[in-house]
């Protein structure tokens, strides 16, 4: 588990939910989302995401960071949810920023915030022995079947990494 809070945008929550692996996100630490991501999730996941898991906390932005997020959005650098999530990561001094969005990840890295995506969460859970080999492979395959795009070559590399992780643990 990460020592500091984790901030997430809608992507990993949606993709891990589709893969039946949302519980893995809870293992990473206290997961925080800004109000805009909460709204996005309610719109996107009307098929049963009415009850938000208790470990996902909605945290409002302080005025200065809300203004910063609005600036990023209005300049077209990031979408609304990603802007707020990144601002929240700054506000909470988050250990990890979880996103599957390229722009948000590049932006986070430029702000020296460690960023990972859904694939990283699944393999991280395997690396920390939260999953058996069969469970981690099943989660990987389910993730590859979700709306997250993973190229065939990266899929193969991830399967190979999954084998190496369990072989060395």
């Amino acid at each position: 588990m990460s020592a500091a809070p984790v901030v997430c945008d809608a992507g990993p929550i949606l993709h891990l939910h589709e893969a039946g692996a949302l519980e893995l996100l809870a293992l990473t630490g206290p997961v925080n989302i800004p109000p805009e991501v909460d709204r996005e999730l309610r719109r996107l996941m009307s098929d049963g995401f009415v009850e938000k898991p208790a470990w996902i906390r909605v945290v409002g932005l302080e005025d200065t960071l809300a203004a910063q997020a609005n600036l990023w959005r209005s300049c077209g650098l990031l979408h609304a949810g990603e802007s707020e999530a990144l601002a929240l990561a700054l506000q909470l001094k988050a250990d990890w920023f979880l996103t599957d969005d390229n722009s948000a990840r590049v932006f986070a890295t430029s702000l020296r915030i460690e960023a990972h995506g859904s694939l990283g969460v699944v393999l991280w859970a395997a690396a920390h022995a939260h999953l058996t080999p069969a469970e981690s492979l099943a989660r990987l395959e389910a993730l590859f079947g979700s709306s997250l795009w993973v190229s065939p070559s990266v899929q193969a590399e991830a399967r190979e990494a999954q084998k190496r992780i369990h072989a060395s643990s």
């Binding site: 390229n102 995506g117 694939l119 990283g120 393999l123 690396a127 590399e157 990494a161 060395s168």
Partner: protein, 85 residues
């Protein structure tokens, strides 16, 4: 509309951006029905606008090389985590 493909013509020239190209798409019937439902629900003015939005999102999300780079970084991260334990 039968069980085959629905044809959607995107004739957008001059309405919003004069330099837009026109495409003719063949869509599975079910996709066409779902597009119509989105339009009826008021999310888009018409199917053309819905498809344009979908294509923009597709292009935004499929910056393939960068996506692969990020995912490979995550694979490497997990392998480092195993070593660190």
């Amino acid at each position: 509309m039968g069980d085959g493909l629905a044809v959607l013509t995107l004739s957008v020239s001059g309405r919003t951006l004069p330099t837009m190209k026109s495409l003719e798409l063949e869509l599975p019937d079910q996709v066409a029905v779902e597009l119509d439902e989105l339009v009826r629900a008021g999310f888009y003015r018409d199917a053309q606008e819905a498809v344009c939005h979908a294509l923009k999102e597709f292009l935004r999300h499929h910056a393939s090389a960068l996506t692969e780079q990020h995912q490979r970084e995550d694979i490497a991260w997990a392998l480092r985590e195993v070593q660190r334990k």
